[in-house]
Amino acid sequence: LLRYLQQLNSRGFHVDELFQKCLFEEDEKEMVLWAIRTVQPNYQLPPPPSPEICKSSLLQDFYSRETMVSYPKLDFSVKELQERFQQQLEMELRNTVTIESVEAAKPLSPQAVKARELLGILRSQWHDAILQALQSSKRSMARPRRMSKHSVLYPYMCLLPDEDYVDIMLQILNDLSPQGESLAVLARELGSRVYDRYIIQRKVRSRQLEKVQEIYENYIQLLAKDSQPEQYLPREYWQKLVAEAGFGPSLSLKNCSWPCVLLMRLGMHMLELLVKAVKVPRNILNRRLESKPIPVLYHVYSFYSNWQVGLIRPHPIFSQLVSNAAETTLTFSSSAMPMLCPPVPWTSPTFGAFVLSDTKLMRFVDETPQHQLLLEQCPLVNLHPVLDALNQLGNCAWKINQPVLDIIISIFNDKGDEKLDIPPPLSEAPKPPTPPSNSSAWSKSFKHEVFLCKKKAAEMHSLRMDALYKLSIANYVRDKVFWFPHNMDFRGRTYPCPPYFNHLGNDVTRAILLFAEGRPLGPRGLDWLKIHLINLTGLKKKNALQERLEYANEIMDDILDSADRPLTGRKWWMDTDEPWQALACCMEIAKASRSPDPAAYISHFPVHQDGSCNGLQHYAALGRDLSGAASVNLVPSGLPQDVYSAVAQQVEEFRKKDAERGLKIAQVLQGFISRKVVKQTVMTVVYGVTRYGGRLQIEKRLREIDEFPEEYLWEASHYLVKQVFNSIKEMFSATRDIQNWLTESAKLIAQSGRTVEWVTPLGLPIIQPYYRSRSTVVTPLCPALSCRKPDTVKQKNAFPPNFIHSLDSTHMMLTALHCLRRGLTFVSVHDCYWTHALTVDVMNQVCRQQFVALHSEKILQDLSEFMLEKYC
């Protein structure tokens, strides 16, 4: 021991560092201390590091101890939160959750009963077949004399009980869509499911789980209503508890992530077993055929011009059986469900969100874990603001708007409604024409028609399944309060972790979400609800807020009618931009306005404030571009300015001139140029849309206009996109310059073989994950990370939009943190901010203050200095 300690010293390490920098499992920490004390009996553990405070100038008052206020309480007691934590923990320990789908309410046909019976029998046969195949493959791998490429997988096939592997494989088989899935995707999925289970198992065995449990139970004290108020942020409080707990395993596991090659190989191996083992008698649906087992999965290739993708498809017999059975249970990974207790606060890039399931602070596209490295190297204190903002977003409690959910489910289980964005069931799909008796007579147009039908059916199926997942999860949590832990992408844009059902979803999902916490409407709340409703309709966009409010009061009859008789009345809500949210809002307005004192009415309803063209706002602010700023509402004005209309106007002027000069296409376009035609392109210009993409967008819009002559589509869209770009250049002069500077810098950086990096004003380090791609071939080893070269074109084209996105997310986080200080409930859908009707005014104020504060920083200068230091 003495020798070890001497060696440690001679290499320039201090014993204290063992405890400050190393990660421990089980009782390792105690054992190390015991060992050291046998030679240095008086050795004392180093004191826990005093918490560091972030020094960002944007957050000086936020972090200042003097103005620190106590953290807002949730409407739950310690005991209730403990119970919820237990439920969440049990769910995560089970790894998957099986829930009834909303289709379960439908009556069952005799055909379905029979098909379910068959499937049940088949599944138990498959289970045995897979288990057998798995065990025999393990046996052959274990034979030491034959070193095959698979032997390296052997240890990874032994990590979990055999049953778990079988479970995972059967689950994959169940989830496979009739169209099949690419080999690489399936392999990765299988591999990562094994990894996820392994991680959970490790956390349980290393006693890390016990420690998290212990700390979480104390952490509840910060949030529960029946505990002492504490002047801490969730992250600070958690860190304090960890420091106080002293001994025991570390909360972060030692680095044990598996490289993607391994995940792929493991997945491929399991897939191979699955393809070989799972068979179905071919005559199962048609007794007249001879009985012969055929594989359920088959392997084909799809060709896209010059490259090919390997696919696994289910045999149509299997798909038919599954569709006949119309099974109504769905199985999700536990991390796909909203959390049943407040998320574990992010305290480091490797710890936070779910209790057990591994979650990345930053989502990454496969094979580019560079951000994770960057985050881990970054001093933790620099990440505090971002972690705190994510914790803030994740701590918002939600509940379900049950009346709206019920209406949606009733339509969903009936025939769906494409206009209302409720995908119809496959039974509503167009029927393919009946084929001529002899298949050689299939004409080209007939084939094409069949193909189109199939394509439509495939699209309908995926839309339907997507909606089914969302609604079923919503229905599952209909009586519960739940939370969405958040993480972010590489630019710092935040996302809820559960993938299917969350507030970032479409109109339907947003309409069924309510804040769990209720607040009185206050004096202005009802007015804000009404304005919010008009905003959701998409009407009155050019009118001032007061006029929108007046309009809402004018049509109060329609609003109340929509709320009272949504499906049988005049259905005013159906003809709006966001019908479901509009309906939910109508109902809230009805309840509030009928309550004896609307100002005291407790509302759970989120009111949105939507950003208008944020990208251009940031450019205008960066460039101090006055006329541009005025057109994107950065300057006080009685009426909302609409940059899209302004661009459309400018384009129209150009068109007129060209038409007078006799340009044919300009003449054809007379009367077709509108805000709608140019809107998407203007919106995406700042996010780097190219002429190519812009033309496609405009072509799509023109195609929607029935009167527009089809033969001119290409030429007209080509012409228009040019004019839109010219108009923007004219209106936002500084924007172009900034974009050019950013693009040029990125080009030079990428050409020098390096990757573009920057740091947001909140201190988040960012790296663009674009590298030259290689085709994903499953067997050979993936190239080492270091030798991958940046993709110059992508690095260059994506830098301006990514930089703007990172500013936008910074602004959102600043707003989130300052709203917390003002006691607001706050969540965001990127540039759309949500809060209670009572607090809309405060949020609006904070939002504006923080925009000004952000742009008072020397953003471009700082960027320039950073790049000079880093790359020159």
Binding site: Y298, Y301, S302, N306, K447, F451, K454
Partner: protein
């Protein structure tokens, strides 16, 4: 370009119809047309954009083959009849491979120019593609799906080989317009005659099922070194061993070791098996012909 091909054909005394895609050259060509007393006819169009898949009105230089043949005054003849028309052209180096594929598709389906019979092509293609077209079985990198389909479909004759150095092939930026091909020789421009085989549609192969055949060959060559029997098994064909035996194909033959004729025989044999009876193979063919074509 400067019209080398057109000039030599005119000098040799042929009746020439020129498809010119670039409208800048059109005026001069048209005045030449007027001065030649019927020996030359000029059409604004691009041979490689005949019958595009996109719907809607055709905008020159995209043209429909019907229109071109009408102007030519060439009527459709049966497949087994003699060559009704000879076409000369240079395949541009961009998208060369795609253009060859499109011609193959058209031939197997007897559509576009091949609706009029066994039109003979005399094309300048890169040595690289020529090597692929004429590769022998066993060379897994060179012997491809394209090879099998081309050799079955065409009689391929090399008429002339001209080194690249005879052409001004530099790009504006000084770089070479002809990319170096890694493993294949690519030092020449090859004039190749592609005459459709008279006996192509014998046995089970018909223009109506040709897309299934093409699909089968492409699927097989997705993994050229794997065994044919593995491929057949992965399509859930369960009597593959018996089938291969009947065709006298060795059980462990690799995809890239089979002769083009073997694929045709395999296809004919599969016609009678249950594989093509299964709907799923049809679906695959439908989906893939859309994306491939």
């Amino acid at each position: 370009g400067p019209g080398i091909l057109t000039r030599s054909l005119l000098d040799a005394g042929f009746r020439v119809v020129a498809l010119e895609s670039n409208s800048d050259f059109l005026t001069d060509l048209q005045s030449l047309e007027n001065s030649l007393d019927g020996q030359l006819k000029v059409i604004h169009g691009d041979f490689f954009r005949l019958d595009p898949l996109a719907k809607g009105a055709l905008k020159p230089p995209a043209v429909s083959s019907d229109k071109v043949f009408e102007t030519l005054g060439v009527a459709a003849v049966p497949w087994r009849a003699d060559v009704p028309l000879k076409i000369f052209g240079i395949v541009s180096q961009q998208l060369e491979r795609n253009r060859l594929w499109r011609l193959l598709f058209a031939m197997y389906e007897c559509s576009s120019i091949y609706r009029y019979g066994r039109v003979e092509l005399n094309l300048f293609i890169s040595e690289k593609e020529y090597t692929v077209l004429t590769a022998k079985p066993g060379k897994s990198k060179v012997y491809q799906a394209l090879t099998v389909l081309a050799q079955l479909g065409y009689e391929i004759e090399l008429l002339h080989k001209e080194p690249w150095s005879s052409f001004a092939t530099n790009l504006k930026n000084g770089g070479l317009a002809i990319p170096k091909a890694g493993q294949l020789p690519n030092d020449h421009f090859c004039l190749v005659r592609l005459t459709p085989q008279q006996n192509l549609f014998t046995g089970g192969l018909k223009p109506s099922n040709a897309s299934t055949f093409i699909f089968m060959v492409k699927q097989s060559f997705a993994k050229p070194k794997s065994k044919l029997t593995d491929r057949l098994n992965s399509w859930s064909l369960d009597n593959s061993d018996a089938l291969l035996k009947a065709l006298e194909i060795p059980k462990n033959a690799a995809i890239c070791n089979l002769y083009p004729e073997d694929y045709k025989r395999l296809f004919e044999a599969l016609q009678n098996s249950d594989l093509f009876g299964e709907t799923f193979f049809h679906d695959e063919v439908l989906a893939s012909t859309r994306t491939m074509n």
